[in-house]
Symmetry: C2
Subunit: 346 residues, 2 copies
DNA sequence: GGTTAGCAATCAACAGACACGAGTGCTAAC
DNA sequence: GTTAGCACTCGTGTCTGTTGATTGCTAACC
């Protein structure tokens, strides 16, 4: 069947009305929209066609029509008009003196949920190639050293190492030089047993300390690489604004998924091959709990391998235009700020 | 009216039955409990008295009785029997190689919520007297230094400082010695303008770097001291197990409070003067959203000023015996481990 | 005087009956 | 191809009657 111009107009009107109200849309409501001067009976005839095409359904006889996932998909792909966004709010947190990555991500999530009234989630960056940038040992007290480990992207972690024998300051200095010259620029994959054996040998009496430092490195870096990244969330309770997500045990099931960092990461990183904004509608998400949800995600990039994903989660009748344009504008701003010139610090 | 022995027995039976079922308890149910060989009619007479005393109420005529806040309070204060707890589960995470505080607190929260089926929340430690223990500067790359700041309790934070001129390694070493000899053992309150001026003077050409380091210290330490502490939560979704907390908009309202670190801190730290375990029942909490909840909190202490609070949040018909004895045993174990001998590392 | 059996009264919960309104599908006329 | 009109469907809200649990009261009992 032909999806002619009038059918498209009617479908768009149905979807946009449903986005606002959340109630099934009847033929009479559509016929009253100006620009489309036909009677409700005509609309009804067209609706039957749209229903045959699988774009809308009736929840029950004698109810209005509701868009199907396929209908939303058509809308998102072809009908939606791009809105330009006011970027003053979006960039406020970039313009402040640059903070650590976590804080930027947190405030991004806060802004997004406040701006959209949906739930915003931002996954912490995954470090793809964790080159060691600096290792620094220092005495903390008589029996403990602190090892500070900095990897590419200026992410610093520390680990406290108990020591038995007392090292002199000079020895500590030598140890620092030894560790840095051996390990700087290396990633976990580069560190073979051979390297480690040689390093330990060179450390002589302090081989145990070197061993502990290497343990600390692998623990810190490995964990960062393999565990699901941190997830910053904001506006989880917004799901209660939408009755179709709050009724029955829906809210519980959705919130349970949102609590699970691993599942959020899976959700956001599905076929995330190419860049750009992805929209998953209802059954397109892998989670049964999220059949009534839509998820919009995109990748962010702070440069230097600091990449993660941003996601907006809301009802299927989400204001796609708003969400997509907000994310798009945010990404453009971010690109402008972090990729034009070098950032000062992070 | 006299609260004689039989009345107490009946009240206890009502409360304990209600804790299990969550349904109003009728006179017949109580009369069937062995040990109390009286008819339902007698129980009814006693119930009228208990109701007059404000310990139980009927949700409506011809329904069974439900404990009031006052009834729970009497139960918690006087009727509850202490159970001894199997501590094998409780101490598992203490016996593992000592991790950073955050991880211990996280796993404590996880264990508590899994063990009780309620929500567990642990506030991060507040550092009462943040003495500086170590300041360590190192070159990260040509134009950035990293300053590692360690305070009492071995909590390390880092801050990246951009520098214009290139310092030699020797200068850096001198700067480290200068900073540490001037600042070690000092807290924020000790640092007067006079100190700072002298320190800057001594730093000579590197006064700007010293200034930046001091900024970093005040930023890191001040923030830690004045913002609400981190809150680690586990089992938030457990509230959906209890219909009286899940129905209507209750769940939303409770979860909204639980999302708010500031309000959680307020909730836990109410008149937390003396130690021990505190129980807040229904209206005794300051939050209107938590009228149907009970909150059990206690203070933990890792030593060296690392103190915060643990809280269990559940329905008013919470298994108080279980929760209180779990927390008590946990605190005793913690005391044994952290206060008997010195801990190895944190 | 305390205890108990018996009984009427109360009320939530549930199910069936009914009217109402929104919305559709179909048909005949334009 | 479009429209008006009408019968039909079905969710929603209201009312009514029934059932079952539980109470309070009273009179009899120990």
């Amino acid at each position: 069947m032909e999806l002619d111009n009038r059918k498209i107009q009617i479908l768009k009107a149905i979807i946009e009305t449903y986005l606002e109200t959340g109630e099934p849309v009847g033929s009479r409501t559509i016929s009253k929209i100006n620009g489309l001067n036909v009677s409700s009976a005509t609309i009804r005839n067209e609706m039957v066609d749209l229903e045959e095409m699988g774009l809308i359904v009736q929840p029950h006889t004698s109810a209005g029509r509701v868009p199907t996932d396929k209908g939303y998909r058509l809308y998102v792909d072809r009908l939606m008009e791009e809105r330009t966004r006011d970027i003053s709010k979006l960039t406020r947190f970039f313009s402040r003196r640059m903070d650590r990555v976590e804080n930027v991500l947190k405030s991004m999530a806060n802004m997004l949920s406040a701006d959209t009234n949906y739930t915003a989630m931002v996954t912490g960056p995954r470090y793809m190639r964790n080159e060691l940038k600096l290792i620094q040992l220092a005495y903390l007290d008589a029996s403990h050293l602190i090892a500070v480990i900095v990897v590419e992207g200026n992410v610093a972690r520390n680990k406290i190492i108990p020591v038995k024998e007392r090292l002199t300051n000079e020895d500590l200095l030598k140890l620092n030089i030894l560790l840095n010259s051996a390990l700087q620029g290396k990633s976990l994959d580069d560190l073979t047993l051979k390297h480690i054996a040689r390093l330990k040998e060179e450390a002589g009496p302090y081989r145990d300390v070197v061993g502990e430092v290497l343990n600390a490195i692998s623990e810190v870096v490995y964990k960062e690489q393999n565990e699901p990244p941190e997830v910053y969330t904001s506006g989880k309770m917004n799901i209660f604004r939408y009755p179709e997500l709050a009724e029955g045990t829906m809210a519980e099931r959705i919130l349970t998924v949102l609590e699970d960092k691993g599942r959020i990461t899976d959700l956001f990183e599905r076929d995330s091959g190419s860049g750009g904004i992805r929209v998953y509608i209802g059954g397109e998400t892998p989670m049964p709990a999220m059949q009534n949800c839509a998820v919009v995600t995109t990748e962010y990039d702070f440069g230097k391998g600091l990449r993660g994903r941003i996601g907006i989660i809301g009802p299927k009748r989400m204001d796609y235009e708003h969400v997509v344009s907000t994310l798009k504008t945010l990404m453009e701003e971010m690109d402008r700020i972090y990729h034009a010139d070098n950032r000062e610090e992070m």
